[in-house]
Structure formats: structure tokens, C-alpha cells
């Protein structure tokens, strides 16, 4: 799901998204003011990994 409007995230979180090669627009934000947090990214990454595993099966 693409976030409507602008994604809110601190610059550090955006950097982490790049490092993890996550399109931050696909991540739903659970932080203050709807921002994407580091935890959100990690959760998204885990979900991605699980999805790939199940796809591979």
C-alpha cells in the first residue's frame, strides 16, 4: 500500500530504509504524527523476509 501524501520519517530512518533497501513509501508509520520509525522498518523487513520464504516454498 502506497502511503497517500508524504511519508514522514526522520532523516536517520530514511537512511536506514536505504540501507535496508526498503521503499519507505510502502511502510506504514506507527510513530508520533504517523511517522515511520526504525521499528516500523525492521518489522517491514521481517515481513518481507517471511513473505520471500513463503514464496519460495
Amino acid at each position: 500500500i502506497l502511503t497517500a501524501g508524504r511519508v514522514l520519517a526522520t532523516p536517520a530512518v530514511r537512511q536506514l530504509a536505504r540501507d535496508l533497501m526498503i521503499d519507505i513509501r510502502l511502510v506504514s508509520g506507527s510513530g508520533a504524527a504517523g511517522r515511520v520509525t526504525k521499528e516500523d522498518l525492521l518489522a517491514h523487513q521481517r515481513a518481507q523476509q517471511e513473505q520471500r520464504l513463503s514464496d519460495a516454498e
Partner: protein
Amino acid sequence: MAKFNLIQAIQDALRVALQVDERVLVLGEDVGVNGGVFRATEGLQAEFGSLRVIDTPLAEAGIVGASVGLAVNGMRPVPEVQFAGFLYPAVEQIVCHVSRVRTRSQGRFSCPLVIRAPYGAGIRAPELHGDSPEAFFVHQPGLKVVCPSTPYDAKGLLLAAIADPDPVLFFEPMRIYRAFKEEVPEGHYTVPIGRANIVRTGKDLSLFAWGTMLRVSLEAAELAKQRGWEVEVVDLRTLSPLDRETILASVQKTGRALVVHEAPKTAGLGAEIVSLINEGALLSLEAPVLRVGSYDVPQPLFSLEDICAPDARRILHGIERVMTY
């Protein structure tokens, strides 16, 4: 309506102000008989007399200081400083008194004056004629600082400044004094101080500029369009107080920003705009807010002025850096 260039608009504002308020005075070096070195005050002394449009001795601290005295004793002086680079001898009067009279006296006295000064380089003028010292006056509390980029805004903002109960520094973009004409209403009207103007909308990057830098910024925005970037160009118009609302709303929309000014980059007004964006819209930023200013070197003699100040190419380079971050 009439079609005016910037100088004509300013002249018209002064004329209207002199007409509607008998307390208004226009004073400065060569403003009377000569009508000002840029003809901003042409014809005013003939129309309003030499008691209201006054040729003063060559002394900026004296001109501004006398304007303080005139202002606190019931007049509405509009002193002209011939070029913004000659505001420096008046800095003590501006920073110690013009800006502080109201606070110091808790409102018992006030200082409703407007200091007009042409600023910016680009017309092959001698040294000090091309300085852009606006940051000093934004940093000093108690002043308002205004800088129009169009004839319509110039007349309206100058009339607003003259009517303002607080002191205003009115920077006039010298290089575009006669660059183009536009429709300007006759008579008295004001453009509100403290409100920026979005002159070009865009979804990709917010470019903040004022005065002399509007045209080159719009030029750069057109070049950026060819690269597929839609740049929103915001004419700040008032430098103090900044229109934080408009600035933040734009950045929240685009996520990328660039500030363009003629003054040297370091500790220029761009730094304040970056800071307020950082404070108020950090979470929207996809890239650093960059600044395109003059290089941090002393203002050169005019053979180097075009390289020193931002041009469309350098602004585009800034846009590119922000867009490709």
C-alpha cells in the same frame, strides 16, 4: 491601473504616501532636485515642496538618526540610503535605536520610519554598490525587512511599510528596477507585510527566493522542468518576519527545498530558512535543504560579480543536487 516598472511603482507609492499623510517626509542624498540617482523620487520635490522632500547632507548615520528624531516626534520619515552598501555607517542608529525605541520605552515612543535602499549586484556598479546586507537586519529584533520583486508588490509593500507602526527596511532589487512593467493599481493599496507569494507551483522542490533572485530562480525552474522536475518558486517578499506557514506548507508538500540569495551563503538568511524548515518540517525532508548564495568571499569588483552571485546555472545545479540526493 497603469503599467509600471519597479522604479515607477516605488515613485508612485511615495507620491501616494505624501498625498495621503502629511506627516510623511522623503529625505536623503540627491532625492530632491535630482529625483534620486535612480529617479525613484523624480518629480516629488516639485510636487510636494522642499519641506517634505529634502536633500540632506552626505551622512547616513545623521540621516537615519535624524529620522529617528522625526519619527518619535510625530512625523513619518522615509529616508533613502543611496545604496544598501551605505547602510553600514547607519548600523549603529538602526541596531541601537530604530529597532529598540518601542521596546526600550515600552511603547511610550515608537519609530515608524521606512529606510529604502537599492541592493544587489549585477549592473556593473562600483564596489559597495552591490552589497546585500539584509541578514544583519533580520538578525536584529525590532525591525521588519521587506524585499519586493515586482512592481505590484513594490508599491503595495512600500505603502504597507510606510503605514506600519514599526520600522521597516525596504530593500529594492536594483538590477530589475527597469527590467519589466506590469499593471499596478492607482491610488493607495497595500500588500501585506509578512506574507510570501507562491509564484510558480510545483510538486518536487520548494525554492525560496526574494528580490533580485526571483527571475534567475524562475529561469532555473524552467530549465529544471526540462529535466522533469517541477519546482515550486516562493517569493518571500518579507524577510522579517518570515512567513513560516507558507514555507513549511510548501516543504511539507514537496519534501525538498532550496534557498537562493545574493548575500554570502554563510550565516545569510538562507541559514535561517534552513533552520526553520529543519525545526518545523524535518520529517518531510527527503534531502538536505541546500542554499545557493554568493560565494563566501568579499563582494568583488564588477568583472566578477556575475560569477559571484547565483545565476540560473548555479541554481539549477543546486536543484539537481537536491533532487538527486
